[in-house]
């Protein structure tokens, strides 16, 4: 479609120009006058030029390139059209007869070349108008459009007023609009915003281009203002077009003259502007990076990369301060274009390194001449490509977490701007590193939690999986640590077919340390139970073993009851543990033989202080062995559950099966504690005595 349209436009303009040419040839011999037919010719010229303009706009639709390219194109076109005009001007056999008011071509060849150069120069002029419009409209403000349109109106008015009909009395119209157009040219010449956005390289091109354009437009203006071949040719071809081209040439000269000067002034700031641009985009990237902190290595590498980018540094590295238990350790986590050895050398001043300065003062440090500063003087003559150094602290919540360093191979390489932008960068980096560390920590916490769950399962497996099954005694047991793992322990030992030992123990403290001792206690009980049937003896031996193996402030309380099915007796020894509750018909007792906690003292005193009790059980008796988690469970008011409540409850429910007794006690305690929970490891073993049949 577009191609068809363009072809049509070209054909139309060609045809129109051909008609104009034919008219001109006829005019050379025949006086046609200045009447309507001359006006028609002008109309055809305008229409032809309009078709060319429409064609050019169609062409431009392909896309407007960078400003500098547009200017380059205009320059090429303009120079070639001026050259064409110049060549035509010196061609032999061409000439104009000097008339009174208008020069006429000597022959039809001259008429043809007049038409040709006029069209070429006219096209160049249209192109210049289009190009300048693009430039003027860049970053337009209020009035930009108005001013430019005013110029256009005045331009066309000036062109129109040059028609013969406005000659003589109305000539002042042409002069006035011409002067006004020139004023608007000056006004519109200050719209040079586009230059700011050129890169440094483009600005250099721009200086050359605009200088040449200025020269070319000036030349064209001068040519058209003097009685040259081109002026004569254009005046003959079309008076309005001569005005149009002249004004546009003047505009071009003024505008690009201004461009030249403006660019010249902007050249020193070009580098700074360019750097600001890249700083901005780098900081933008880093802002995004703050959210992408799952790969720490990636993060710190980007940091050093961006540091170099924004400051134009030769090398950059990032040091983080890790707080180990003993002292803080400085670790280079990322180095860009510098080796670890070189960093070591830079920081090797034993008295006072740049790193030390930043760590101690929490301020940034700029060393303009590395060879002169006392902190880096030792680098002089080492041949390192480091002449200036900038070190920025990374401060998070008031404490220093690292230092960012950048170096350049020229002295005075860094300025206040660099320091400012790197400080901003350092703030971003600090946040990113904080986040990365938080993520690391939460992953670590998650891992530890998993480990603890494993420990919990392991510990559960240390507790007996199978309970004694015997018609003479019914056993129920439950143990629940308050944390993931705990220090409570219970176990059953089959001493022989008719003798069952039950132990309940409690390691002091809670959590992991208690859990380790609990495992140890299990080993000790399991092995000692095979060596003695006396609870007292077992506890004495256990105390000896544990005394050697426990840390000083740790101890274990335990109660060991040996149930003899044949004789309906229970033999019991207690090592500092909660008394056994015995619920018997009419007699509810706390069985509490003397005894010291395990691991508290040496063998002799323990042996002297620890007793053994023997009880005879009757059918229906209930024994409760438990840890202090039961009796010391607190309600929200802080009152302990206590022995009385436990015994009373046991009396009320003593006729239930052992499992139900256990569940009732546990649920009562749960209710008693309310939302806060028991707060301690909690173990309960219930033994319900049925006795042997022979007993009746």
């Amino acid at each position: 479609m577009s191609r068809l349209k363009k072809a049509a436009l070209l054909i139309a303009s060609g045809t129109l120009l051909l008609l104009v040419f034919m008219y001109d040839v006829v005019r050379l011999t025949v006086e046609l006058g200045d009447g309507g037919i001359a006006l028609l010719r002008e109309a055809m010229v305008v229409a032809a030029m309009f078709c060319i303009y429409a064609f050019m706009r169609e062409q431009a639709r392909k896309g407007i390139g960078a400003a500098i390219k547009e200017i380059g194109r205009l320059l090429m076109f303009l120079v070639s059209s001026v050259l064409v005009a110049a060549i035509v001007g010196v061609l032999p056999g061409l000439g104009f007869s000097e008339g009174t008011d208008q020069a006429l071509p000597q022959n039809s060849v001259t008429a043809f070349f007049s038409l040709a150069v006029s069209v070429v120069v006219g096209v160049a002029s249209i192109l210049s108008l289009l190009t300048v419009k693009e430039l003027v409209y860049h970053k337009r403000k209020r009035g930009t459009r108005r001013n430019f349109l005013t110029y256009l109106v005045l331009l066309f008015a000036t062109a129109a007023f040059s028609l013969p009909m406005f000659a003589n009395d109305l000539a002042f119209l042409g002069t006035t609009s011409f002067v006004l157009a020139v004023i608007m040219i000056v006004v519109n010449a200050f719209r040079q915003n586009w230059i700011v956005y050129l890169s440094r390289r483009e600005k250099i091109y721009c200086i050359i281009y605009s200088a040449l354009l200025f020269a070319a437009f000036l030349a064209l203006s001068l040519i058209l203002s003097n009685r040259t071949f081109l002026q004569k040719a254009m005046l003959f071809f079309s008076g309005p077009m001569e005005r149009f081209v002249l004004l546009n040439s003047m505009y071009g000269a003024v505008y690009f003259g201004m461009s030249f000067i403006t660019t010249l002034f902007h050249l020193p700031t070009a580098e700074a502007y360019e750097r600001k641009q890249s700083e901005l985009s780098s900081l933008h990237n880093l802002g995004r990076l703050v959210t992408q902190v799952f790969d720490f290595k990636d993060l710190v590498n980007t940091v050093t990369h961006v540091t170099r980018e924004v400051s134009g540094a030769r090398s950059a590295w990032l040091e983080l301060i890790r707080d180990s238990p003993k002292a803080s350790v400085v670790e280079v986590v990322s180095a860009n274009n510098i080796t670890a050895g070189e960093i070591e050398t830079v920081m090797s001043n034993p008295e006072y390194s740049p790193r030390q300065f930043v760590i101690e003062s929490k301020r940034s440090l700029m060393i303009d001449e590395v060879g002169v500063d006392r902190r880096t003087r030792h680098l002089k003559g080492l041949g390192l490509p480091i002449a200036s150094l900038l070190s920025i602290p990374l401060v998070s919540h008031g404490s220093l977490i690292g230092v960012l360093h950048a170096t350049k191979d020229i002295a005075y390489g860094f300025d206040q701007d660099d320091s400012d932008v790197l400080t901003t960068l350092a703030d971003h980096v600090t946040i990113a590193i904080d986040n990365a560390r938080l993520i690391e920590q939460s992953l670590e916490r998650e891992r530890l939690k998993q480990e603890l769950m494993v420990a919990r399962d392991m510990q559960k497996r240390l507790l007996p999986q199978r309970f004694p099954e015997n018609p003479a005694m019914e056993v129920a047991a439950h143990s629940e640590p308050s944390l993931e793992v705990g220090g409570d322990y219970f176990d059953f030992v089959h001493l022989d077919e008719k003798t069952i030992g039950i132990v309940v123990g409690d390691v002091s403290g809670k959590g992991v340390s208690a859990a380790f001792y609990m495992a140890e206690v299990k080993g000790i009980f399991q092995s000692l139970s095979k060596m003695t049937r006396s609870p007292r003896e077992l506890l004495i031996w256990a105390n000896q073993t544990l005394r050697e193996n426990l840390e000083r402030k740790a101890f274990i309380s335990a109660v060991y009851a040996v149930f003899e099915l044949a004789t309906s007796r229970v033999v019991l020894a207690r090592a500092g543990h909660c008394p056994m509750v015995l619920v018997s018909d009419g007699m509810n007792r706390l069985i509490r033989p003397n005894g010291l906690g395990l691991g508290l003292t040496d063998g002799e005193l323990f042996e002297r202080s620890t007793e053994e009790t023997v009880l005879t059980l009757k059918r229906g008796d209930v024994c409760l062995l438990y840890t202090d988690g039961i009796t010391e469970a607190r309600n929200p008011e802080g009152v302990e559950f206590g022995y009385d409540r436990l015994v009373d409850l046991a009396v009320r429910i003593k006729d239930l099966p052992a499992v139900d007794i256990q569940n009732r006690i546990l649920s009562e305690i749960g209710t008693y504690c309310g939302k806060t929970g028991p707060g301690d490891d909690l173990t309960l073993v219930v033994v319900k005595w049925h006795g042997t049949k022979s007993e009746g």
Binding site: D506, S508, G509, K510, R552, K553, A554, F555, S557, G576, H577, C578, P579, R592, N594, G595, L596, G597, L600, T601, L605, S609, D628, E632, D680
Partner: protein, 120 residues
């Protein structure tokens, strides 16, 4: 978490620690620090006044166990006084009365220290 306080004051030839509140695994380190300081200052005659001690857990009892040996090695002692029945019960259950001298009040404990120093 829970309130626990150790107040330290010096008498003639002995130091008094007044315990107040809830001594458990969370608060035990406070008491440990105090004991540590007494040992560093070579103050081995220690009276622990439990008048305002409302609760003591096994971890709390552990603190006394941790230091008693060092104290006695230096010919000093830790004597406990003014225990509420409830707190005494916890000490008693574990057999502490066999290991520690427990007195009704500070005065008794102080007298005991004086007698011992005369003998020593």
């Amino acid at each position: 978490m829970s309130d626990f306080k150790v107040n330290h004051r010096d008498g003639e030839g002995f130091s008094v620690l007044e315990l107040k509140g809830y001594l458990d695994a969370h608060t035990a380190p406070d008491l440990e620090t105090t004991f540590q300081k007494l040992l560093t200052d070579k103050k081995y005659n220690i009276i622990v006044n439990c008048k305002d001690l409302t609760y003591i857990s096994s971890a709390g009892l552990g603190v006394f166990m941790a230091y008693i040996e060092d104290v006695r090695k230096n010919r000093g002692d830790i004597k406990l006084t003014n225990m509420s029945p409830k707190v005494y019960n916890v000490f008693d259950l574990l057999g502490f009365p066999v290991l520690y001298e427990i007195y009704r009040d500070e005065h008794e404990a102080a007298n005991k220290f004086r007698q011992q120093s005369k003998k020593g």
